[in-house]
Chain length 444, copies 2
């Protein structure tokens, strides 16, 4: 990432030159420089900036930075900037405003207010919630020159000018035309003759995960969003989908660690909110783990006679949890990327069985030698511990490999079948097997 200190110095001494800076640096870099200035410096800089340039900055700043800087703007400049923002970023920003501010900003927006309200009505994780409404439409009966004239007239406004959408008089989507095809088209040819009919679309209420899946499958650069009647409402572009992929992977990782998923960056979340995201799940897991304690309770007499058995409990529990988590992580991710389907259940089971046999025996042999040579424990104990290890690794990997597929089958989120839950389940299994084998083989 670039070193911007030189430019920061430059701007501190010449606050008028932000517009010139924007000729040399990408908006993201200028936004970072501005965010690092003191409020006094920033006020001097903002005074010289036009609404268009402020809009570029608001597109880049995250919500807390925006809300630190917005109070430094005059009401007129803020309205001008918000008016100049792309519809999706604008709706996101207005969505973070407190109710009162939101209404005053919306009334200042006048003509654009209805559009912002419409975008705000979509759930955040739907295609409607991430789409932009600036797109170019043409009619099928137009000639390529007429279509190109529209591109020339409106391209500056559009989120992408690389695709032009062909609609009927009711805005129903009939086809798509790339700017490339439009430029290559022979003069006089009708749009209907060169458009691609039946373009891939997504419904305005579909989840953004489906959007990501469609971009993955069809290598798209832009995807039109339609309503129930097939009317085009907006477009999602590839750069938006990069954010979606990051968000979805983060959400999966959070669920896999048994937290309530949250989009908000860590450092912007209060300690109380962070605690709330974690407590219910830790409670459930804690109470489930007491079940494992009950198994120990049942075998208290065994442990009272063979205290040495207690020494191996942590190793058996940890190894079971780790072995199971490995399997579940691979399967959860494979399911999320569509590499594994529900119908692959048996293949997964068979493969995990083979893998776990190889892994289990390798660990057990190492452990047997360690217990004999380093712990100097009796051979009978070493044998029981190692046999438990083989059985445990196999059980853990079967559980870790199949529960995510089962969850998917039951229309639950496979991500919950990860480390913490798998560990809780296989810990109980590991101790049960351990005590069962000990009782049988140690002659008690």
């Amino acid at each position: 990432m670039p070193d911007l200190s030189h430019w920061k110095q430059y701007l501190s001494s010449s606050p008028k030159d932000v517009h010139r800076l924007l000729q040399h640096l990408p908006p993201a870099d200028v936004a970072e420089i501005l965010a690092s200035l003191s409020n006094d410096q920033l006020r001097a800089v903002l005074e010289e900036m036009g609404g268009q340039d402020v809009a570029l900055m608001l597109e880049e700043w995250d919500a807390p930075t925006s809300w630190r800087i917005i109070p430094l703007l005059t009401q007129e400049k803020l309205t001008a900037a918000i008016q100049a923002m792309p519809s999706d970023d604008r709706a996101d920003l207005i969505g973070t405003m407190p109710e009162a501010t939101r209404e005053s900003v919306l009334s200042a927006l006048a003509a654009d207010a209805a559009e912002v309200r419409e975008l705000l009505a979509y759930a955040a994780e739907t295609s409607g919630g991430i789409m932009a409404t600036e797109f170019l439409t043409v009619r099928p009966e137009w000639t390529s020159e007429e279509a190109l004239a529209i591109v020339r007239r409106d391209a500056q406004e559009a989120e992408t000018a690389y695709y032009v959408y062909v609609t009927d008089a009711e805005q129903r989507l009939l086809g798509v035309l790339s700017l490339r095809e439009l430029v290559l088209a022979a003069p006089g040819v009708k749009v209907a003759a060169i458009m691609k009919p039946h373009p891939i679309t997504v419904h305005e209420d579909d989840h953004q995960e489906l959007v990501a899946d469609l971009f993955r499958r069809y290598h798209l650069f832009a995807l039109p969003v339609v309503d129930d009647k097939g009317r085009i409402k907006g477009i999602v572009t590839a750069d938006d989908v990069l954010d979606v992929l990051d968000e979805e992977a983060t959400e999966d990782m959070q669920k896999m660690s048994w937290m309530t998923p949250s989009e908000a960056p860590y450092l912007e979340t209060s300690a109380f909110t962070l605690a709330k995201q974690r407590i219910p799940w830790l409670l459930i897991l804690m109470l489930s783990a007491t079940f494992t304690g009950q198994i120990i309770k049942r075998y208290e007499d065994l442990l009272a006679h063979f205290v040495v058995l207690t020494i191996f409990i942590p190793m058996l529990m940890d190894t079971a949890g780790n072995a199971g988590s490995q399997s579940s992580t691979l399967i959860i991710r494979g399911l999320a990327l569509g590499e594994i389907g529900i119908s692959d259940w048996f293949r997964v089971l068979r493969r995990e069985l083979m893998v776990s046999a190889i892994v289990g025996f390798t660990l057990a042999i190492t452990n047997f030698l360690r217990v004999i040579l380093l712990e100097r424990a009796p051979v009978s104990v070493a044998f029981v511990v190692s046999l438990t290890l083989v059985a445990t690794v196999i059980l853990a990997k079967m559980v870790g490999g199949t529960l995510p597929v089962l969850a998917k089958r039951l229309r639950l989120d496979p991500a919950i079948m990860a480390g913490p839950l798998i560990t809780t389940i296989v810990d109980a299994l590991a101790l049960f097997v351990y005590f069962l084998l000990s009782t049988r083989l140690l002659g008690i």
Copy 2:
């Protein structure tokens, strides 16, 4: 995802019509239909297909599917198809070939062979390894009409025609021009006057993670790849970066579960390879967990007198591991997305301290009541267990919150500081605190 069974039936009865099918369906869907046909049906279909259409299919099929189908093609058609593929997909396919096949394919490719060899020389996860070499270049002294003529002539070949790269006679990158700007440009204006100078670039040997970071930060659609001398070697487009984000998130999840990361889809990996990716790490963790066993060994006498203490070991170990994993997952992901930096270490520590205090006390109170009311254990034992829980959750969240930042500081991958390692460390801490408090407070 679409239901393709109707089209599959259609194709089985009319094997000649793949080309027509491609007018109606996206290549990804046609490729899925073809992959589901029997070898006999497939042979009939392939016989009727042109090299261009076969190339489209090879771009879609994954490696195992390609290698099942390629033997059904004649040598001539395979060569024609490979010649028609985009450079990046072509190099990827040839890269999966056994040495002998690769050489015979390369010699059949004739003129294109040198380019393929050059691409194959890049490491898979560098920008050179993911770039395509089909891009459009123009000279600064040309007029906009001359530049547009080049686009018209070569657009079909290029990976993206939406950006045109301005170079000098030595192919050094001087600027970039979007097709939109070219279409909007006044006639007769020079390319140098309308190009954007100093475009954002990436070096051919840079890691694909940097490519992803640049796309995230600058909302790019295409990124030129340059060599040491600033000569443009290829471009990476947004659809390639979607794959990179998926790969990098998968890799992080695998490392977080302590597996050797692998790009290969689960179902395409042999049981032996899967076992190899897991064994070394499980061994390390297993041997580390024996340290926790040593702590138990030191307190054998305590446990012999108070066997009831053993019952709570699984709950304490599991809760410690889960609490620590939650924190480490959030911090690892925040570091990966650039939301958290090394300098935020102290803020993370302070926040985790507050969060863990809230979480710890909530869990401890619940646990205290449960142990008294349901387990009917003595109040003194309930008190020791609950106090251990508070201390353990706080310790676990401090360890889970700070080790990833420390790893980043030491230029290690923060992802290794996840669930399995954190669990092993905090399990030992939990038991140590447990036995220490028990010895002091239970009057032994």
